[in-house]
Structures are given as structure tokens and as C-alpha cells.
Symmetry: D2
């Protein structure tokens, strides 16, 4: 019963096996190997983007921060939701990689930027000429940190606002697969057709060991990515092992199947909670995370029974009136089982 | 016959197997897992350094650049050899991570800093007060980029010079194991007992998939490392897989055995070349790399026969007089076989 | 009738004359001259801070950004008001000088941080350990961008909150003199006795040509200031001319007299507006700036009559219903005359 | 007898007077005043460069570092002489402003880059693709730190090498006027006609209080200069006083006359030393500085008699054998008099 995060899970067996297959013999290092070439081509095919450039890195923070660095100037603003991962969970990586950009925070329910709030934030920034930080880029997290999902139409709506101000659009897709299957959309529909210029295409949280692909739809923007990646220590010498993970992840739609499973587990969990007296859902459980409030006594029971998850926000306390509701974040992954969910629900129900 | 680099090799089978074992179940992410704790303790034991702090990252450039960042100020100099990896092969990573330090280059044979050259370089820097870049730190690469090795006494000699100027000392040990077995020294003798404050302890080139440990002997210097690592995107979420590699690498002295093999292969290669008419050694082959000059005709023959390696420097040409000697860099690894070496020597000899 | 900013004014005649006196002969450059030494001593005396270190720079942005850089780490937050000059008017200078700190914005009326809002913002930041940007420092602008003033007690209240979290406190005193005379407080009462660690002590807006003093009350924090100043190109070679301005500014309390005049002119203007039908004050006019709303028709009349000032915010339009109120920012300076104010009031009244 | 530096001198009286004239009334701040517009136009005229963009800053380090920042990427190299001011006297400002570029040092006599040494340095850099720092820009100091001068032909020769590698060229002209009159060349001949893209056009050392103009011959490169200047705290609010200095400096060729005087004083000094037994010239005294070796006893006599100058390098000692020659740097300025020189020579001769 581990719902602490999708990254407490291990590696999907197919992907682990692929590492072993990739281990044979000597191959050129630093990405000049055939497996890397093949996986880049495969991503271009999957995204229907024959001109796209693809770069592999090992962490989501690297993917996001490097993407920001090629899309904005140091003296410009990155518009993102107040709860975006790049704002709250990367210890200032975007600021480091960009050379000091400013994250301008946009409000909206369920960690989704409200279109009018985005427009206001952009319009407000850089009005004073050289005295202000300039308008730089927009970053959309999909699925969001609250487990919600932007549809392709919603992404397009935000992108149009960005376009009105001539700003490029980044998508933090650490949970891209979960968002995609939630919308039953194609990769192209969710990204470049909806105005996304650069995608952080996550693998790690969804069954890989540690690999993310940065997909740059406009190849002109790729020019400096390679240099920034190397300079940041994110170019792997034994690069074949990043490629092997990603190749296996994509093969036969494994990535989508793993995400479907995680989303289905979250749906089962949400349904169970909805049917539990005293439990309420805080955000719409559209992807693989469920945010739910239920009484303190039930939390104590669940945790005593071995359930692992975070109270969200962290500073809620298990000490206090037993009936008071506390909010939990429960994250499902490719490795979550129906049995775990049913056991958890049983504990909550007491 | 791949001598292009030690990083064209794959992963030692023991280490690959360890990844599979580490895959069971859910564990806390970001290094809070038991395997990480155990491997940190093991490194403290191996280095006889109970107070040391240990951090895992996936690339050598990350290890080096983060180490520099905690040891020097942005307005200070990093003293290193003109051919150090941090100067020549990291696309300016030290400058990026430190916020703009200056690498001051020191000469010396076989990519080893000559002690008097180091002293002169330090003394020359920062003489003009606030107008100059200040004196920051010393970085020693062991084994060097030329395949030579500093003995513990030689390290101590450089460290004493650093101490005379109150400067901390970093060791880039991407090939630390190779240097250690070459000197038959203990980890402690080669590092903190010889005045080293921070070590980049390499695993990747010597049989791992992608892991390096930064060993910080003075724990006071560790305070900011964790934040810098996260901010640089180098904190892995599924951290257990870094730990698993490192734990297996250390277990039963595997790391030393792999390095002994690589060094022995380089010695066999060097002996064979020394006995080859027309071939000369350019640097003393003390670790796992051999730098050798032999006639262009023999290069053409070797490469036609399938040998892979770099001409060093790169800009030598295979077009030209057949008898003219060209210099090759030949790197052996844990995966190099006697048969490969003998086949290569046969090609060179024609 | 120029109320556009206090920096559209020229240099007070006493200060201009001091430049001429300072011009005699050769003197050591880069601040090693006797005039610089004397002015640093004078500032220590005025602030009753014998241990303080003083550094002169030529712009307020340099003073603020360098102050931030010595008080916070790159991975930490600067807590300031949403409308602080460092947030809105320096094109990201704090981010540049600190190496990428994040400004966390605090709300409050009249551009003054509300104490509870500050406490919440600090408490919210850095809760997640290494994943979050850490808590760094607090910056208080006095007088504020809205023409309001923090009393020493109010400063102390914010400083205590900072101390609860072990954070240093910076004061952006570009209009320090205006704040001081508004409160009839001593320099020490407004700064170190109220918990301020570093002050940007403004001269430029209040009658100098271009000089600000950074006063560092805890000399241990001064260690790196000198190096950062030089590295940022803010150490003047002919430093005596910065010192001469500041010395004249301080001599005989000129700085306080100039500020008293500017504040008195703002008070006269505010009183006149308060007595003008249709005009209202938007912020309390406690220093040298008046924010006032009055009908569009009166704006058109005033500007046609030669009055210069900014509509605040900028994006208000002179086209529209004549009775609709628009907000103006009107800044008085040492050079503002009663006649200008009376002429302006006459225009507004029509 | 102050030969310590040209920046120990004061401000030429014409320029000081211009500050007073500029002080009348209110004018727009931040460079939107008519005087600034006029001086920018005047510089375009003087340089026969109608498309050039001009920006004023107050220090040479700001001019140089901002120029580098718009000409090179953080991951690229700045090729300059080993003794260039940007390498030795700016505390790493180029590294700070560029975000961590690497200065690659080129040798050559008299602090002039030897063309073949420049070509070798460029060719050597960036050969290894993404692993190396890339080739960025060339910076030429004229007059050099050794008091020598590049002729327009010599500048063109270096620029051609830069062009062969598609690199832009910066000229550090802190002593541009001295170089120009030494060559009897026009501003255009010495700069854009010789391949210079951006010039740091110095005023401070040659009679101004603190002003340098950055002249950007290709206006496309100006796009980010304004933002970088503001972000670095180098945009003056009372900008008219920078403009007033520069306008007066240019008026009637004052700048050239001041430099002619300084150069003539250096020539007189050099001639006197050449005629002094035991004194030798170390570099050709082509501009306003003389590097000369003469016996220690004469140094002791000169300094006891009130002569001020630096031993160069600093670490020569006045203690030692009286006949041993020590090297002095003697800098003349617009303010140096024949009487000072003759008095100095008399002291040296004893």
C-alpha cells in the first residue's frame, strides 16, 4: 500500500530486461550509438513530427530546466501555475539553468492555469520596458500536480494566449502518458498541434529507471540544447542505457499501457473513496493521483495498517480531533495493484 | 578491438544483476532508501572516514562540477592541469556550476601538474587584491588524462602547496580505481591522508552503468552539496538504482578487480607496443590508457582491420607519408580481452 | 511641473560644488583616497555603528542587488513586497547578482508587507526540504513604492519575523531620507536597532548625481561585497567623485533637509488635492510621492498645461469618459517648488 | 609626480564645467533626455557609422563585460591576450556577465596577441564537439596593457582570423584615444573598417569622471544590450550626467587633444629614460604608458623624492642589491605636466 509517489515504484520488467539486452559489446558513447538513433526516430514517428529533435536525460528536473533554458532569456519570465513542479519542487533549477529567469505565478483550480489569469499575468509583465523583467515563455504541467489533466483544447487555448504575446510554450510532461490516456488523445494532438514547442516527455515515473526525452518540435530551438546538456553534466557517457529504457518504454505501446493501468487504479481508488462516508475528493482524479479528505481517525487507522502516503500539505498533523478531515495525496503507478487499493479502502472505512 | 574509451564498454555482469535485485517492491525515493544508506556507510568504511558525507550522481561531469561549486567562490580560480577533464572535456561545466570561476591552467608532463608550476600559478593569481580573480581551489586528476598516475606522496606534495595558500583540494577520480591499484595504495592514503578534501569517486568508466560518488571528507563542506545537486537536476528519484550499482561495485572489492584487469590489459598492450619496431610510448602507461606513436601505415592497417581508437590529438590525418608516426590513445577497460590486444598488436605489426 | 520621478531632478548645488572641490590633483583610485575614508567614517558616526562597513556604488539597483547577493544563497528566497523595486523595476537584477534566487512576493497595503503575510510566505517556503527553494532573506523598501513609510517599530516587527526563521534583513532605502524625516527617527533607530543587517542608503533620488552607500552593520557579511562589487563593474576608478557627492550630501544634514523639503512639497500637494472636489488619495502620502485619483478631464487639462507625471498603472488611457477617475503618481523632490504645486493644483481644479 | 595610473588624475575642466551646464531643470531619466540622444548621434558621426547603436556606462569593466555578454554564449571562449584587462584586472567580470564563458589566453609581445598564436588558440578550442567549450569571440585591447598599440592593419589581421572562424570581434578601448592618435588613424579605420563589431570607447582614463560608450556597429547585436545593462545596475537614472561628460569629451576634438598630450608626456618620459644610463625600455612606449627598468637605488631615490608609480610586476622588492634593475610602470595622463616628468627624470638620474 505505497501511495507516496509514483517514483517509489521500481522498473517495469520489460524495461529492466531491455537494459540487459543493451549491454552486449562495445558501442560508441555519448549518444552516438544505434539504439539512441533508433529511439529518437521512434519518438519522431510517434509524435508525427519528422523534424523534431529528441534528447534524452535522466531526470525530470533536468528535462524541464534545460527546456526552459533554451526557450527564455535570463531577463525574462516563465509563466506557470503557482503549484507547478518547476516552481515548487526543483529547488530553483529553472532559475539556475536559465541564468536567473523569474517564475511568474498564475492561479487556477486543480493546478491548472486559468486562461484569463495567464493572460493577465503576461500582460502585467514587462509593461515598463527595460525596467521590468520581459515576457519569456509559458510552461504547462500535464498532468498537473493536483492530478488534473488539460485536454488538447485546453492546451491550445493557453498556447493561443502565449502566441498573442509571441511566447513559446513548454509542457512539463513528467506524467505525459497519464494525461494522454486520460484524454484519449494522440501525442501530436496534445503537443505541437496544440501549440507546444518543447515537451518534457517523462519515463521515470511511469515505469522507467531514469529517463526523460526532451522533444523539441522546432529544430531551430535545438541548437543550444546539446551544449547546455553537456555543460550541465546531463550527457551520459554510456548513453545506450538511457536509450534502451526509452525504446522498451515505447515498444508496443508499453508506455500507454502502464499509464492506463495507473490511471485505472486511481479511478478505482477514487470511486471507492466517493462511496466511503466521510471521504470527499479535493481535485478531479483525472490521471494517476487522488487528493481526498477523510477524518483524522481514518488516517491514523490507515497508517497504522501500513498505508504510505503524504498528507498534503505536509503540515497537517495526526494529532487533533478524530473527526476533523485531513487531506491526503494518493499516487498510483504502473505497479499499483487492485489488492492494495482494496486493502487501503478497507482501512479507511474501518 | 575497441580502445576508443573505457566508456564504450558495457556494465559488469555483477552490477547489472544488482539492478534486478534492487527492483523489488516500493522504496522511498530521492535517496531515503536503505540501500543508499548502506552504500554511504560502506564508502565511509572503505575510506576509513567515519565523518565523511557521500552523495551519488550519475555522471562524472556532475561529480566534478558540483564538487568545484562547493569548494570555490564564483570570483576565484580553480587550479588544474592544462589537460584536465574539467578544462577540456566538460564544456565549461565548472564555470556553470560555480557561477563563473576561472580555471587557471598549470603545466606538467603526462598531464600531471608540476609542483613548482602549481605554486607559481597560485602565487601569480590574486596578487592585485580586489582587481583579480582570487585563489580558490586545486583540482587533481588521478589517473590523469594521459594515463599517468600521481602516487599518494605526489598528491600530498600538491596538497601541501594548496595548504600554504589555504586552498582546498579536489580529486577528479573518474579513474580512481585505476590509480589506486597502480599505486597499491589504500583509498585513505590516496585521498584525505594526502590532503584531499573532496573526491569524485568514479564508477561509470570502470564497469558501472552510470554512477559516481562524491566523497566529502570534511562534513562541514557538505552543507550545500545536497541543495546544489537537486537544483542541478542531479538528484535521482529512483535513487536505489544508483545505490545498487555502487553497492555491487564495492562488494568484495569488485571495483579494484575490474581496475586491475583494465590496467593489466593496458600493460600488456604497452609491452607489446614497446616490443614493436617503430612504435614508441608517449606517456608512461601507469593506469588503463596507452598513448603510443607508430607509423601511419600501421594505423591504416589497424583501422582497416577493425581497431577502434582515437588519434590524439584528433587533427592528425590518415592521409600523408606512410612512415610518419601518428599518436594514438588506446584505452582499456574491465571488458578488454587479451585476444583483442593481441589482435591489435598483430595488425600494427603488419 | 515635473512630477514624473524624483530622478528627473538635477543635482543639489552644494553637491555639484563638492565635485569641483574634489577635482584637485592626483589621488589614489578605486576608493583608496582620503575622501572615501572620511565619508565611510562619517556614515558610521551618523548611524552610531562603529563596526559597520560602507561601500559606495552609483546606482540603486547595484546597491540592492549586491546587498541581496551577500545575504542569500542562489537556491534561496528573497521575501519582499509584490510591488518592491527589486521585484518590479530592476529587470531581474537580484536574480542576476545572486545567481538565481527566487523572489517570493508578499502582500500588504500601500506596498508595505503585512506582518502575517510575511510570516505565512516564509513558513510556506522550504517546507519540503531539498526539493524546495530555501528561506533566504527579507527585503523591506522604505519609503515604499506607494509613498508610504514603515516606522521603526514596523520595521522591527518584520525583522522579528525574519529572526524567527534566522533570516537576515535588507532595507532598500533608495528614499531612506524621506522615510527617516517622515518618522522623525534616527538612522540607527530605523536600521540596525530595528533589526536591519544591510541598508541601501540612497543619495541619487534626493539630490546627488549618482551615489548610494551600502551600509553593512555586521562586518562579517562584508567579506565578499568588495569582490562582488568589482566583479560587477561597480567599483569606480575615480572613486573620489562618489565620495565627494556623499560627503556633501551628509554635511550639515543636507540629506535630511533635502528630504524634508521633498516631503513637505508632497504634503502640500496632497493637502491641495484633498481639498479638490473629485480628487482622492489612493495611498497615505507619508514621504515624497502622492498617489491620487481625479477625473480624466482634469488629467487632460493638467497635461495640456505642461504637467508631467505617470498614470499609475501605465495602461490607463486618456481616451474615455471625462468624469472617470484615473490614478496618477506624483513625485516631489528636493527641487520641487511651491509654485509648481500650486500651478498643478490650479490645472486640476480647472 | 603621480604616474601610478591615468585614473589617479581628475576631470578635465571642460568636462567638469559641462556637468554644471547639464544640471539645469528637470529632464527625463534613464537616457531619454535630449543630451543623451545628441551624444549618441555625435558618436555615430565621428565613427562614420550611421547604423551603430551607442550605450553609455560609467566604468570600463561594465563596458567590457557587457560587450562580451552580447557577443558570446556562456559555453564559449573569449580569446584575448594573457595580460588583457578582462583577464587580469576585472575580478572575473566577463565570466560573471556572460554566465561562465572561458577566457582562452593568447601570447604575444607587448601584450599584443601574435596572429599565429591567436589562430592556434582558436583552432585548438572546440575541436571535440559538444565536449569542449565552443569558439566564442575575440577581444583586442588597444592600447594594450603594456603601452603598445595595434595599428588598424594589425587589428584587421586579427579580425580576419576571427572571421575565418565566424567569430565577432570586441575592442577594449579603455585607452582608445591614446591608440588612435598614436596611429594617426580615424575612428572608423581603427574599428569597423578593421573588422571590430563592438567597441568599449573609454572616457574615464582620459579626462572624464566616469563614462564609457559601448559602440555596437551591427545594430542587430544591440537587442539585448539594454536589458543586460539595466539588469546589471548600469543604467543611470540621472543619465544626463553621463551624456554631458561624453558630449564635452567629444566636443571640438577634446578627447584627441587630451590623448595627444598624455602620449606626448609619455614620449618625453621615454626619451629621457632612453638617455639615462642604466635605464632601459621594456615595451615600446607607443601610447601613454612607459615600462622601464632602472637600478633599485634609483627607484629608492625616486620614491623618496615623491614619485608615485607601481613596480610591475608588484612583487619586486625595494630591498636588495642597489644596482639590480627593477621594472616600473609609469602612466601619463591628460593632467601630467612636463615639469613632473623632468623632476622624475632628475630623481632617477640622481
Amino acid at each position: 500500500m505505497n501511495f507516496a509517489s509514483d517514483n517509489t515504484s521500481g522498473v517495469a520488467p520489460q524495461i529492466l530486461a531491455a537494459l540487459g539486452r543493451a549491454n552486449a559489446g562495445h558501442v560508441p558513447s555519448y549518444g552516438a550509438d544505434p539504439l539512441t538513433e533508433a529511439v529518437e526516430a521512434e519518438i519522431r514517428t510517434i509524435f508525427e513530427a519528422p523534424e523534431a529533435r529528441v534528447f534524452l536525460v535522466a531526470t525530470g528536473t533536468a528535462a524541464n530546466a534545460l527546456s526552459c533554458a533554451i526557450l527564455t532569456d535570463p531577463w525574462a519570465a516563465i509563466f506557470c501555475h503557482r503549484n507547478a513542479h518547476i516552481e515548487e519542487d526543483e529547488c530553483g533549477a529553472p532559475e539556475f539553468f536559465t541564468g536567473g529567469s523569474k517564475l511568474v505565478l498564475v492561479d487556477g483550480e486543480h493546478a491548472k492555469m486559468a486562461p484569463e489569469a495567464l493572460r493577465r499575468a503576461i500582460a502585467h509583465t514587462g509593461r515598463g520596458g527595460v525596467h521590468n523583467v520581459q515576457r519569456g515563455m509559458v510552461s504547462i504541467t500535464n498532468a498537473t500536480e493536483a492530478g488534473a489533466v488539460y485536454t488538447p483544447d485546453e492546451v491550445a487555448q493557453l498556447s493561443e494566449i502565449a502566441r498573442d504575446f509571441h511566447l513559446p510554450v513548454h509542457m512539463d510532461g513528467a506524467r505525459f502518458a497519464n494525461a494522454l490516456v486520460a484524454c484519449d488523445a494522440s501525442p501530436a494532438e496534445m503537443t505541437w498541434r496544440a501549440g507546444v514547442d518543447v515537451l518534457s516527455f517523462g519515463g521515470t515515473k511511469n515505469g522507467c529507471m531514469g529517463v526523460e526525452a526532451v522533444v523539441i518540435f522546432d529544430p531551430a530551438r535545438a541548437a543550444e540544447f546539446e551544449l547546455r546538456r553537456k555543460r550541465a553534466g546531463h550527457l551520459f557517457s554510456k548513453h545506450r542505457f538511457l536509450a534502451a529504457q526509452m525504446a522498451s518504454y515505447l515498444e508496443g505501446g508499453l508506455w500507454l499501457n502502464l499509464a492506463r493501468h495507473a490511471n485505472a487504479m486511481a479511478a478505482r481508488l477514487a470511486e471507492g473513496l466517493a462511496a466511503t462516508p466521510g471521504a470527499t475528493l479535493v481535485h478531479p482524479p483525472q490521471a494517476n493521483a487522488v487528493f481526498t479528505a477523510f477524518p483524522r481517525a481514518a488516517h491514523i487507522r490507515a497508517q497504522a495498517g501500513g498505508a504510505q502516503y503524504y498528507l498534503w500539505p505536509f503540515d497537517q498533523s495526526l494529532a487533533g480531533p478524530p473527526e476533523e478531515p485531513l487531506v491526503a495525496r494518493l499516487v498510483c503507478s504502473w505497479a499499483t495493484t487492485e489488492a492494495e487499493i482494496d486493502a487501503f479502502l478497507a482501512l479507511v472505512r474501518g
